[in-house]
């Protein structure tokens, strides 16, 4: 029983990075911009956050540093695709390729550094509930931030005027433009918000979740987060749920590796990636379903 509680706790801890990155990408995609640079942004943010943590010993500053790195990179991406009409796929890809090279380059001096163990913060009364306490309420505060963010973004998108404008731009930028909304400016804001979230997620991984820096340590989480937005049919709370499920798959395979199950390690390690493919296949099977839910202008340039 206790080990199951710990497995749930670990899944939530691992899923948090996917959730936060996925939420950011969702905001960007709701405005009609697909940013395939998530992996690169998370890598640069991870190394930035780690470096800030090494020098300042402050987790908060490290997270902010990661977010700043995400904003800078996504702003470059945003200006290129929104004003210069570069292809969103190719530009996002460029960001991912650049990010993996750049993070390896600047991260070299930090490879052997360590941050030391980080204490989880238990919520006073709730954490002593049997089973639920260790499963849910002994996490790093950032984990609760992810839950809060999912609800906040959901409220913003579906209950506020600004959220409606954002969704309208994603559905039909031409109409929103005709109504007098500044499509380009709002899209850039959405892209940069997405970058900030991806940056937070990257820094969370290198500073809190696995406090170290290794080249390529994001290991596809940026791409999995991209798949998550489609899996969640662009709804924030479903992103959160999906992220925890993927966190569960990751942690389950690590748990099985630890137990010494008689299955090759590599077969277990590929599980999250195979799971992503399976999920993509299942949700995409019905094109009409995707078409109904996907922001209609996603990936298309706005040239008016």
């Amino acid at each position: 029983m206790d080990s199951i509680a710990l497995l749930i706790a670990a899944s939530i801890g691992s899923g948090t990075a996917l959730a936060v990155a996925g939420l950011g990408l969702l905001i960007s995609e709701r405005s009609g911009v697909l940013n395939l640079g998530a992996e690169g942004m998370m890598l640069v943010a991870a190394v930035t956050g780690f470096a800030v943590a090494v020098h300042t010993h402050s987790t908060l500053l490290a997270l902010l540093g990661g977010a700043a790195a995400g904003v800078v990179l996504s702003a470059i991406f945003g200006v290129l695709v929104i004003w210069l009409h570069t292809n969103q796929y190719a530009t996002g890809l460029a960001l991912s390729l650049f990010g993996s090279g750049f993070s390896a380059f600047v991260g070299l001096p930090y490879v052997s550094e360590s941050l030391g163990e980080r204490k989880a913060s238990a919520i006073p009364a709730l954490s002593s509930i049997p089973f639920l306490g260790p499963a849910l309420f002994r996490q790093h505060p950032f984990v609760y931030f992810a839950v809060f963010a999912a609800f906040a973004i959901s409220y913003f998108l579906f209950k506020t005027k600004a959220g409606l404008v954002l969704r309208a731009i994603g559905e039909s930028p031409e109409s929103a433009h005709a109504l007098g909304y500044r499509v380009r400016g709002i899209r850039l804001l959405a892209v940069c918000t997405g970058g900030a979230f991806a940056g937070l997620a990257g820094a969370y991984i290198s500073v809190i979740h696995t406090p170290l820096w290794v080249e390529g340590m994001i290991a596809g989480k940026g791409w999995i987060a991209l798949s998550l937005t489609a899996f969640a049919t662009w709804r924030p709370l479903r992103v959160l749920l999906g992220a925890y499920l993927f966190g569960g798959v990751t942690m389950l395979q690590l748990h099985l590796q630890g137990e010494g199950v008689n299955v090759p390690v590599q077969l277990l390690t590929m599980l999250p990636y195979v799971a992503t493919i399976v999920v993509l296949v299942v949700i995409s099977r019905n094109p009409a379903w995707i078409r109904i839910n996907m922001p209609a202008s996603l990936g298309k340039p706005f040239t008016a």
Binding site: L80, L93, S284
Partner: protein
């Protein structure tokens, strides 16, 4: 104020000038980077642009790096031309190394030197198989080919890891994750003993010709161009987007697989976890910089191989991290995409009135 306005027709001049400007911009940014790191920029640039071409031996090394980039880049340019986004060529390359090795490790002292042919064909088959997985999931289930092909890269890495840590591990290899060293019968023949350059380069150059003829002189090539570029027009003309999807994935997968086979049966000579060096990703940039055109891809593959060699030399001689190669690759693609804007748009000064 400056305003970006659409051109009536895409500029042919900018189409070919854009990669040159992008390269100059990348070099300029590189010089800034070297200065910031306190290195002599002239020495650094020498590592990238002079050292790789300074003598026959260096050119041989360059051909080894350029060959896989050229092969994969050719396949990907076909893909991107038909708007099929295969970005998992790295995975198809890895499967190529795996399938080729599966045949190569079965060679014996009695094997004929022609056995290298089935080794290369097996590599192609491996790459095609990996490409076909994405194609079938796209075709039958509408799954996004970008994400699927990319996820399969991570899966391929694990397949490779499983084999070299497990069933294929060299029993006399001091427990290192590697296969036995391949026998000469299954190695790609070299041109001369002094240089590492091998017949793979000739094969890649031949492929440039084949692709050029296919694209510009055959009906099927025309079909592929049309059906991807404008789906509606293609349907009207009776061409199927499905066949374009399958052709793109099988051809680019096969080319990446062949590149993988040439890598293990050529310069490396065994399968290890260190064989994949990211050529599959770099080739995406090669395809774009080469204007998705076989001749252009030849030039850009050579350029990208200089980035690789420059990175290695900078590490050995100037103490720069080798990953500087990745930084430049990313910068080059960014710069290229920016410059490409001016193929279809031009800047006009409009007085604010």
């Amino acid at each position: 104020m400056l305003k970006l306005e659409p051109r009536h027709d895409p500029s042919r001049v900018m189409t070919y000038l854009s990669p040159v400007i992008a390269l100059l911009a990348t070099v300029l940014l590189g010089v800034c980077l070297f200065l910031a790191l306190g290195k002599d920029p002239a020495r650094c640039l020498e590592m990238f642009f002079v050292a790789p071409v300074k003598d026959a031996r260096a050119l041989g090394e360059m051909s080894i790096k350029a060959t896989p980039l050229l092969l994969i880049g050719l396949g990907l340019s076909l893909c991107f031309r038909s708007s099929v986004w295969n970005i998992g060529a790295e995975g198809q390359f890895i499967l190529g190394t795996v399938f080729a090795s599966g045949v190569a490790i079965r060679a014996t002292e009695q094997s004929s030197p022609l056995m290298v042919v089935p080794v290369l064909l097996a590599g192609m088959a491996g790459g095609m198989l990996w490409g076909a997985i994405t194609a079938i999931l796209r075709d039958r289930f509408n799954a996004n080919e970008i994400l699927v092909s990319l996820m399969l890269v991570y899966v391929a890495e694990q397949v490779l890891g499983y084999l070299v840590y497990g069933p294929w591990k060299d029993p006399d290899g001091y427990n290192f994750p590697q296969t036995v060293t391949f026998l000469d019968a299954v190695r790609v023949p070299r041109f001369a003993p002094a240089s590492r350059a091998n017949a793979g380069t000739a094969l890649a150059l031949f492929a440039v010709g084949v692709f050029w003829v296919f694209l510009h002189r055959t009906h099927a090539g025309y079909r592929l161009l049309v059906s991807g570029m404008a789906p509606a027009a293609a349907r009207y003309a009776g061409f199927s987007a499905r066949s374009a999807l399958w052709t793109a994935f099988l051809v680019s997968g096969g080319m990446a697989g062949l590149a993988g086979a040439l890598e293990v049966a050529g310069p490396v000579g065994q399968l290890t976890t260190h064989v994949p060096l990211g050529y599959g990703f770099a080739a995406i940039i090669v395809a774009f910089v080469g204007r998705l055109n076989p001749i252009g891809v030849l030039f850009s593959a050579v350029l990208m191989s200089m980035f690789y060699i420059g990175g290695e030399l900078s590490q050995a001689r100037l103490g720069l991290p080798r990953s500087v190669t990745g930084v430049f690759q990313g910068l080059l693609l960014f710069a290229l995409l920016t410059c490409d804007t001016f193929i279809n748009y031009r800047l006009r000064w409009i007085s604010p009135s």
